[in-house]
């Protein structure tokens, strides 16, 4: 498809959508998704994001297109409109992912103060959201032992975050509530 053909085809599908025709609109969304995946994947690979992220981003763009479709004026070309939305969503997406990456790095730095056994348990429970029981089973130890280790790890993390040694140890009940 040349750019002109694509412009005509998709603009026509957008007009059909306004008349309530779902079939051409659905076909257009599929074509847009394919085209976007093809054009965005290399860009995302360059910032070390994979195919999975490309799919998330394509969905974000499709939702944006759909929710804001009334802002397209049929008298104007469709592709520049779509392009602007794509760029907006791409920038937004990159910004979020960068924030996520930074938080992951921060977390890794904080957890680095822990000995390996404690780090493993904190990561499993607090980061990955596993239950105490599953962690205990995975490490072939008792639930009580996991709780004690987690407790010690949290005290150590708090001590590392705040050097004044006035930390009150939280009760076990509070502990469970937070988890």
């Amino acid at each position: 498809m040349t750019v002109e053909e694509r412009e005509q085809r998709w603009a026509e599908a957008m007009r059909a959508e306004r008349r309530g025709e779902a079939v051409p609109y659905e076909r257009m969304l599929k074509e847009v998704a394919t085209a976007l995946r093809r054009s965005l994947a290399p860009r995302l690979v360059r910032v070390s994001l994979g195919a999975h992220e490309a799919d998330d981003l394509v969905q974000e763009i499709l939702i944006g297109l759909h929710r804001k479709r009334h802002t397209w004026d049929p008298a104007r070309p469709f592709l520049p409109w779509l392009h602007t939305i794509t760029r907006y969503k791409l920038i937004d997406f990159m910004r979020h992912r960068r924030g996520d990456t930074r938080r992951r790095v921060d977390l890794a730095l904080h957890l680095a103060v822990l000995p390996v056994s404690q780090r493993k348990i904190v990561r499993a429970i607090a980061v990955e959201g596993a239950s105490v029981r599953n962690v205990a089973r995975g490490l072939a130890t008792s639930e009580g032992a996991v709780r004690v280790t987690l407790h010690r790890a949290i005290r150590r993390l708090l001590a590392a975050a705040d050097p004044t040694p006035t930390i009150e140890s939280p009760s076990r009940n509070e502990h469970d509530k937070d988890r």
Binding site: K30, A33, W81
Partner: protein
């Protein structure tokens, strides 16, 4: 892949359900309501000038109306541009008439009106009054902008700020006692700048979609 296909199917199933009220139409309604709110505030809270009939035929009043009017028209065009993805950037030239009026008013002031006003409180009253009467306009325009698709939230917010300030200023001309074009060019513009700043800060937060 299948997740995306599911999404596409559910999006397509709502084809044709969006009411096709044009962005321009919604904008016109917003503008009219904003001006009405601003006028209402001027009449009810600030009060129009005592010697209104006499003052309304002289040059400073004409300058106020023409300057704020040009600003309203110009920023309206830019606001519609900001709400529409892929719109042509030539819309930005729409504010040039207002800028020319502003420059003329500031440079060729035929009145001998002092730029800081006749009383100590003139500047504060003028800028404060404009900010006050333009607040409803700002809220309404933000509601409109959220219906649109602003891809530069900071810029769209700033434009909303200037638009609502110029609408407010236009209504405020009925109450304004400062008959100097340089005064108006300076302090009306200062009010616009303050609202632009507020709008940009708010827009950055509320205009994401």
């Amino acid at each position: 892949m299948t997740r995306t296909d599911d999404l596409i199917r559910s999006l397509a199933s709502t084809a044709g359900t969006q009411r096709s009220a044009s962005l321009q139409g919604a904008f016109a309604v917003t503008g009219a309501a904003s001006l009405a709110c601003a006028l209402l505030l001027v009449f009810s809270v600030i009060g129009i000038r005592q010697d209104f009939a006499e003052m309304a035929v002289r040059l400073p009043f004409a300058f106020k109306v023409v300057y704020t009017g040009a600003l309203v028209v110009g920023t309206s065009v830019v606001a519609l541009h900001a709400a529409t993805p892929g719109a042509s950037a030539t819309a930005l030239y729409a504010i040039s008439p207002a800028v020319i009026f502003l420059a003329c008013g500031a440079i060729f002031d035929p009145t001998a009106f002092p730029i800081m006003g006749r009383t100590n409180t003139a500047v504060a009253f003028c800028v404060g009054g404009i900010l006050f009467v333009s607040l409803p306009a700002m809220v309404l325009t933000f509601v409109f902008m959220r219906k649109g698709a602003p891809t530069q939230p900071l810029f769209a917010g700033a434009v909303i700020g200037i638009l609502s300030a110029s609408l407010g200023a236009m209504a405020y001309t009925l109450a304004c006692k400062n008959d100097g074009t340089a005064f108006v060019a300076t302090w009306y513009t200062a009010a616009c700048a303050i609202m632009a700043f507020i709008g940009a800060v708010v827009g950055h937060r509320v205009l994401r979609w």
